[in-house]
């Protein structure tokens, strides 16, 4: 190994590469001056981090659409204090990418606010960077509870937590499914299963927690890997415990595999209440067999306008642009969350983090005042769940005539939806 000359040469090469890469990226990513909302007519640049590649890409891209529509509609209506809104989107499929993109948005693009992030892991890592740099992190969709349990001053979570998603599956059972089947919820054998990511875990635990609190009979709980090629052994365990009410929390692909194998193995529970992921792909795959499947999920397109003002305007805009129904509730949540963020920025009148935080905390909007139907009241400083929106709750919904309708709470119901159970046999 004694090619001395080679060692010297590659050594010099390393030096010039390091310098070039530094100078190169120094130039390529020249910092842009921050814009305060003060000057009318300027552009207000806001950052947004979503997983736009990798396994979570589908819903990351949906939330991106919601943010874009919100900005365009707001710009048509005069923007924020006369400033035009411009989103700078960043792709972060992993927590590590979340950190580097947050760094770029904060120091190079000089954004005052970052909205994110669909994946809880990315939300976790990127919000820590924002907090360290005194930049507002506006989380719409990360559901893992622990995101807002770190006492961050500049972190606000507009969307619901996993626990709330889980609890609504039990409320659906108590207020909608059990009365429909004419049975006392305590008589049911409940099975709670979830895919083992932070999303599935927090929803599953939320459901189990409330069920036990209400004294319901949870006989079987288990998690599985979303990347599994076979769930028949899990279905056999459900059969063995003769589960009446199944509460699965899964992404679309594993959910489909589960439902197919349930039918193959002739396992027919009284009702299935799925945690989240009521999406068009699910309907496309199951066709009319999907009717009767219940979900606890974020706001669905078919929700009463009384409870979700501005939803119809959004639906119209989405159909015009993409020529189809929204893929799922995720785009609505992003749209509603973005609008609330714009209101907060307008109220704060500046890009200073403390002013924005103060404006956000001062909001006190009742339920039914945003396009997602939620209110806005962020848990105050010092609260263990500081930054969580206390007026955001998951809704119960059910597939009826090949479309998904909100049925719980009652104010959200569009028309008299016929709750069809038992589900898969139909």
């Amino acid at each position: 190994m004694k090619f001395r000359r080679g060692k010297l040469i590659s050594l010099l090469l390393l030096i010039c590469f390091a310098v070039v890469s530094v100078a190169g990226c120094g130039g390529a990513a020249t910092e842009k001056e921050p814009v305060t909302t003060g000057e009318v007519g300027d552009t207000l640049r806001l950052g947004a981090i979503y997983p736009l590649t990798g396994p979570l890409a589908k819903l990351g891209q949906e939330e991106q659409k919601g943010a874009q529509i919100a900005a365009d509609l707001r710009n048509d209506a005069g923007g924020i204090n006369g400033n035009k809104i411009e989103w700078i989107f960043a792709d972060a499929p992993t927590p590590e990418a979340g950190v580097s993109e947050a760094e770029r948005l904060i120091t190079v693009e000089k954004v005052p606010v970052i909205m994110g992030s669909y994946s809880s892991g990315v939300a976790y890592a990127a919000s820590a960077v924002a907090e360290k740099n005194k930049v507002i992190y506006w989380e719409n969709s990360g559901v893992a509870d622990n995101i807002t349990q770190r006492g961050f001053k500049y972190l606000f979570r507009f969307g619901i937590t996993g626990t709330s998603l889980g609890e609504t599956t039990i409320k659906m059972l108590r207020d909608v499914i059990a009365p429909e089947l004419g049975k006392d919820p305590k008589d049911y054998k409940i099975g709670v299963i979830w895919e083992d990511s932070s999303f599935g875990t927090s929803v599953g635990q939320g459901a189990i927690g409330l069920a036990k609190e209400l004294g319901y009979n949870v006989v079987f709980t288990e998690s599985y890997s979303a990347k599994t090629t076979d769930l028949s052994s899990l279905v056999m365990k459900l059969k063995q415990n003769d589960i009446d009410i199944l509460i699965p929390t899964s992404y679309v692909a594993d959910g489909l595999l589960l439902f197919k194998q349930m039918q193959e193995l002739n396992f027919v529970p009284e009702a299935v209440i799925m945690g989240g992921n009521a999406t068009q792909d699910l309907k496309a795959a199951m066709g009319e067999k999907i009717n009767g499947l219940a979900h606890s999920d974020i706001t669905q397109p078919r929700t009463n306008e009384a409870m979700a003002p501005g939803l119809e305007a959004f639906m119209k805009e989405y159909k015009e642009r993409y020529g189809s129904e929204p893929y799922s509730g995720h785009v609505i949540r992003a749209y509603a969350g973005a609008n609330v963020l714009f209101d907060v920025l307008e109220k704060a009148g500046s890009t200073d983090a403390d002013k924005i935080a103060e404006a956000a905390r001062s909001l006190d909007l009742p339920l039914g005042s945003t396009a997602a139907g939620w209110g806005v009241k962020f848990a105050p400083e010092g609260d263990p769940m500081m930054g969580t929106n206390e007026r955001a709750e998951a809704y119960g919904c059910i597939w009826y005539k090949d479309e998904i309708f909100t049925v719980w709470p009652v104010e959200g119901q569009l028309e008299d939806v016929e709750v069809l159970v038992p589900w898969p046999a139909r």
Binding site: T53, G54, P55, A57, K58, Q61, D196, E222, S223, Y224, S225, K227, T228, T229, D230, L231, S232, S233, L234, M236, K237, K239, Q240, V252, A253, L256, L257, F259, K260, Q261, Q263, E264, L265, N266, T279, D281, A284, A285, M286, G287
Partner: protein
């Protein structure tokens, strides 16, 4: 008792799927010592092709197999010639890394071209099953089991009867000796790789009705197929069938007795045990062992 019967049935039918996926790999890995990390991605491509045939031309996935075989054969040829052939002489490290690069490339090409929607072929018999009240056989799973057997037999006939089959076997045993006997090893490798990818194509067609189709679906099948190939012994096609059944049974039984999350860990554990105790696989003649 009937539950255990059903578990065994599930194990065998899932085993059929594992076997079908692994036949292509045992040919490529067995003959050319290439660990193909993009194996799952070729499966994904074939699933997408079958999906478009079903959606655009209304063709049933199992009928589509006839078109999938030649198409995937060509895909295998092109990919091998463009990326693997130039570096086949180098150490296996480079071929492994090339397949990793291919994995990244194919996944993201699919994401770019067909976006990230989660698609599935909803043919009416997709979820139906036959059998008694408690012992059910999924139609699509029986079909994939039969296709696995058929593909294995077909491949064995090609390997033993045809001229190209013999040259593939010769090259896999000893490349230099085969070269001395006038076997054009470059052509043999190209055809062996293409044949392997065509077999993966068949697997894709058989799995399309069972699984959803999205750019990263391939990653699900990666590790399991390596386990099956090593269990069955390198390049041993019947071994891949039996290896697949064993892994299928382990998957079904361990999934029932233990929390489902540990399934994969268990058959990876079995894989490590086999590698250490019987390095040549249960039946194969691969040279996994390090001698003394």
């Amino acid at each position: 008792m009937e539950i255990w019967m059903q578990i065994l049935v599930n194990g065998i039918l899932t085993g059929g799927i594992f076997a079908l996926i692994s036949i292509g790999l045992t040919l490529i890995f067995g003959v050319m010592n290439i660990i193909n990390f993009a194996h799952g991605e070729f499966l994904m491509i074939s699933m997408y092709l079958v999906y478009w045939m079903n959606v655009k031309m209304g063709m049933d996935p199992y009928v589509a197999i006839i078109f999938i075989i030649p198409i995937m054969f060509v895909v295998g040829l092109v990919v091998y010639k463009a990326t693997l052939n130039p570096i086949i002489e180098r150490s296996e490290l480079f071929t492994i890394l090339m397949t990793v690069a291919l994995m990244i490339l194919l996944q993201n090409l699919a994401l770019m071209l067909w976006n990230a929607d989660i698609r599935s072929i909803n043919i009416d018999y997709a979820a139906s099953a036959i059998g008694t009240e408690n012992i059910r056989f999924g139609i699509t799973k029986i079909a994939s089991f039969a296709i696995a057997i058929g593909t294995a037999i077909g491949l064995m006939i090609i390997l033993s009867r045809t001229w190209i089959g013999k040259s593939i076997k010769a090259t896999s045993q000893n490349r230099t000796a085969a070269k001395l006997m006038g076997v054009d090893t470059i052509r043999t490798y190209t055809i062996a790789f293409a044949l392997g990818i065509a077999t993966v194509g068949i697997a894709g067609a058989a799995l399309a009705p069972i699984f959803s189709i999205y750019p990263t679906v391939g990653t699900q099948f990666g590790t399991a197929s390596f386990v099956v190939v090593v269990l069955g012994g390198l390049g041993n096609v019947p071994g891949a069938i039996i290896g697949g059944l064993i892994i299928g049974l382990i998957d079904s039984i361990s999934g029932f007795l233990l929390p489902v999350g540990f399934k994969e860990a268990i058959y990876l554990g079995v894989f490590l045990l086999v590698l250490l105790l019987k390095p040549n696989g249960l039946f194969g003649q691969g040279a996994a062992g390090g001698g003394r």
